[in-house]
Symmetry: C2
Subunit: 332 residues, 2 copies
């Protein structure tokens, strides 16, 4: 069973994956890139993954057989395990609990494509419907506190398989990054009586210099203080705290926006490695006046070194205004 | 002039290095490894760096000439610039200031070696004396608030030159990572009336399972909740908030400890890429009862992906107790 341990200085939780513990000799400076060869996520190889948790399927097709369009399976090497109780305890001055949670993989297409940006819009919409379904299902478990949907693309962004997929890790604690965002939002709200992110959206739409694209309900822009070159955020224009409460029109526009933003990034940066993270509200939160869900896309073009690790300051050689202009001009 | 911009959601400051702004085409997925060839840090090439700020030199040798043992120069591509005033201002709802600060390189040896762990102890002591000198000098500048000493070794840890060196970036704001640590320490102190880090040291020395080595004054251990495999922390056993207030015996023992810990890491992990960061107190703080300086060494063996970026949670496949046992058993 994995363990959860808290560092009292940084308030950071760490998952110690004792069962897949490695020896020092297991670490090689750069793992080999894998491309081609056998892919367990392709249609026809359904028996090479753990049994499916959910899928959108053709009528009459069978669970764990072909005929699916989006398919969710447990991660074969899960960071957290769904069975068991937390058994929270002190370990001297430290804090400990069992590694209870969920770790799922959302396989976004039965075809071996490396990005969903090239798929038709209805196929992309189904990916976001599935994100929503999985959050709504898992948040019924009262042991669990937060669901982080994320995507790793490219070896240096941490992807081990190239077939287009996302992951969902659900933790029994609200992660500190999310807590920090919520606390900034609360402080702003207390002072201004307005949502911080709504104010950011207003300023971006008025200034326009950092906007990449917009639809009626969604906007994509380069944030004012991006950690990374071409970091791009996507969010609803109107206030909404929970990703999983989105309705049909929101999902349609989000799919269109994400597809176009990823196409622009892929084109402009020659298929860069990237991650994205979906920041929804914690599981036990009701609709929140002060928090606003959003997606952060981070192309991994620069290396993070001691200064960034040490301070949380980032050095970014591309002003977001230049990045936005470049992305807008990229032909797609 | 670089700009400092604050992200209001994460409270993270970002340095937008507008003067070395890059075009998208400047980003290549993996820069080439450089080894061999011309090295501007080697003795004899003093005119290939900006003019020196400080050096420990043989009697009679000349500034910017040969005869130095440790030499400090401005970074050729500084993230921050020492001239100018901050000109703090609002940019709509955002916060902005000029990129005033310092960015120095500490060249740790005139010989082309890639690690100081192989140097004699007196040479290593001089590196730490120089760290101390530079902090003491720069903290007299009232515009500046914090000095982060750090080291990048290996391409994937962000080093662009292999000749052994450290860097010092001094910022006009206390970085959020440091603020978070101080605030955890304060909260602990308020409750327990004891320093959190002193309590960690006591528990580690009593349990011993995570201790790598100790001297009379210093201890090196794997933290209870390490982000990374073989993450190792080094600190004084007795309470001390300011690195730069260390005395002779402390520096001697720190040099011996760092030399041996780095040798063990290099041997155990086959010369891994790594970073280390020196966490001293903020410049304007007097001796603090609740904060305790420390060094964090992070070998870069695993990749950081969307989950870690998104949550601040880390997944570590090596329990710190196993890592410590392995490092203790490594013959050096």
């Amino acid at each position: 069973m994995p363990e959860l341990r808290k560092d009292p200085l940084s308030l950071r939780w760490v998952i110690i994956a004792t069962e897949r513990a490695k020896r020092p000799s297991d670490f090689r400076p750069e793992p080999e890139a894998k491309s081609g060869g056998f892919c367990p996520f392709c249609a026809g190889n359904e028996d090479k993954t753990p049994p499916e948790i959910a899928a959108y399927r053709e009528r009459g097709s069978e669970r764990n057989g072909a005929g699916w369009r989006v398919r969710v399976v447990p991660n074969k090497f899960p960071a957290l395990q769904i069975e068991g109780s937390l058994n929270k305890k002190a370990d001297g001055i430290y804090d400990w609990m069992q590694g209870v949670g969920a770790h799922e993989v959302i396989i976004e297409s039965p075809q071996h494509v490396t990005s969903y940006a090239g798929l038709p819009e209805p196929a992309v919409q189904e990916i976001f419907w599935m994100y929503r379904d999985r959050l709504l299902d898992l948040k019924r478990d009262r042991r669990l506190k937060y669901g982080m949907l994320f995507k790793n693309v490219g070896l240096s962004a941490g992807a081990s398989l190239e077939h287009t997929h996302s992951q969902l890790i659900v933790t029994p604690i609200v992660p500190r990054t999310v807590n920090f965002k919520i606390s900034s939002c609360r402080e702003y709200y207390r002072y201004h009586d307005r949502c911080l992110v709504c104010d950011m959206v207003q300023q971006e739409l008025a200034q326009r210099s950092r906007v990449v694209m917009e639809t009626e309900e969604m906007v994509a822009f380069e944030p004012y203080a991006p950690r990374f070159p071409f970091e791009t955020w996507v969010m609803p224009k109107a206030h909404a705290s929970h990703f999983e409460n989105m309705q049909r029109k929101g999902i349609e526009e989000l799919a269109r926006t994400m597809k176009e933003v990823l196409l622009r990034l892929q084109k402009a940066l020659n298929d860069p490695p990237y991650n994205y993270m979906v920041y929804t509200a914690p599981f036990d939160a009701q609709e929140m006046e002060e928090y606003h869900w959003h997606i952060e896309i981070i192309p991994r073009l620069t290396r993070v070194a001691g200064f960034e690790w040490g301070t949380g300051f980032y050095i970014n050689p591309v002003p977001p205004e230049s990045a936005a202009a470049y992305l807008r001009e990229t032909a797609v």
